[in-house]
Symmetry: C2
Subunit: 247 residues, 2 copies
DNA sequence: GTAATAGTGTCTCTTAGACAATATGCC
DNA sequence: GGCATATTGTCTAAGAGACACTATTAC
């Protein structure tokens, strides 16, 4: 049933190819992921990652397919999108051998316009606690989500991707706070600022401050490094080596 | 032609799924990659990465397909194998929209038994200079190879995967030398030893030494960390910050 | 004034890298 | 002894983390 014939040399039947996206945002002090309620079998009524079959007539490449899904669901066209991993086996879909190329995206909550996709009854943000949402997900999506969360946490450690979870203008305090929400631990303020400063990934917006019931904070904007990710020379924190001054 | 119908909801035609492997070894002071000469069209007579279509009747999952190819080509069953990236678009194969899930493997030259695969006329090691071999490769395989080399170099920086390029027993000098061959630069001896020592990734084999025209060297073996990769707290060398004591 | 957050400075600790000294085999 | 490589030690510098201090707004 799932074994369409391939035109290649030996005519092996080929698996169905899907693209699924783990879309993260940070909102209300929580890391959240976008999930859609399935309107069709299998797993009718269960929540799942947004995604669908690759459409070879429309999509020039896999990333285009992922970006199409991302725009359909959130309306956000230009944001951080990265291929996560490709899952393929005979068990993950009851209909047979399938391959899912999973991507993960980071969007600023303020820029998202949720629209219900054509075959998704409902698309909603779900809070992440630990390594999961408190729901049974369709297919192996709980597993994919878990690996995406691990990848996100691991990349926060040595790259600057977290800026893509923020609005265009942000304070260093907000930037640090995003780290703290996702990593679930407090960071050192001066280390964080020094690290961000040396990496040259943000620049102050002259004369722009965020005011509130406290000292106004300088607003910054992300300095695009032309596709090149910024890496930090050291991990932001290295377990086993936390020390106190007065033990 | 390439658009077999998928059994899924909207019956989109689905691309062909292939698995390709970049198999690295270090031999004769050089980083090498295994390439096979294609015996069929397209790209008949060109060199290509070992690989082929996923066989959904035989392969339980994508990694099994990759491991099957690896064993067919090298005879090596248990070694380092990691998913690299998934390439999928309409242009990479003249026959139409295809998806290739690329893996990369590290093997010890001493453990390889090259066998010509069934549809590969010739399988041979090719030396890598810079980011390429001196050959025109089939499909987008030059691009895949380049990304695999980058990934390998990048991972040497913060993981211990290079041990998989060595025989079971090796000296620290040999271990360091593998790094130097791949990274194309000399490393500091005491830093290297300190780093390897602290990471606890190798252990001396009591009473076993490698002899030659010099002081005998202690032989070590890799300490398996039960599937967990070992990460180093810092990059092995961070550009822009090289300093000399007497400038 | 107080509360609250912004921003800076100082000290310590870990680890990489430069460089050198010593060790030990074979010839 | 001489050569070549192994192994260890000492010093410096970069950068992370602890902690504390000052700054500036709203109230």
């Amino acid at each position: 049933m799932n074994q369409a014939l391939s035109p290649h040399a030996k005519h092996y039947p080929t698996p169905t190819v899907m693209v699924d996206i783990v879309i993260f945002t940070v909102e209300d002090e929580l890391l959240k992921v976008l999930l859609v309620k399935r309107g069709i079998e299998p797993f009718l009524g269960h929540y799942a990652l947004p995604g669908g079959a690759v459409r070879i007539a429309q999509d020039a490449c896999l990333e285009d397919a992922a970006r199409r899904e991302l725009i359909e669901e959130t309306g956000v066209a230009n944001t951080y999108l990265e291929q996560l991993y490709t899952y393929g086996n005979a068990q993950r879909d009851p209909r047979g051998w399938t391959v899912s190329v999973a991507y993960f995206a980071l969007v600023a909550a303020s820029e998202v316009q949720l629209k219900a996709g054509s075959d998704a009854a409902e698309a909603r943000w779900h809070s992440i606690f630990g390594n999961q949402v408190g729901l049974l997900l369709a297919f192996d999506h709980a597993h994919i989500l878990q690996e995406a969360i691990e990848r996100l946490r691991s990349k926060l450690d040595y790259t600057d991707i977290a800026v893509h979870l923020l609005a265009q203008e942000f304070t260093l305090g907000e930037f640090q706070h995003v780290y703290e929400i996702i990593m679930q631990e407090k960071l050192n303020k001066s280390s964080f600022r020094q690290r961000v400063d040396r990496a040259g990934i943000v620049e102050p917006i002259a004369g722009k401050m965020r005011t509130g019931a406290n000292r106004p904070a300088q607003l910054y904007r992300f300095v695009s490094s032309e596709g090149k990710r910024v890496f930090f020379p050291r991990s932001i924190a290295w377990a086993e080596s936390k020390h106190q001054r007065n033990p």
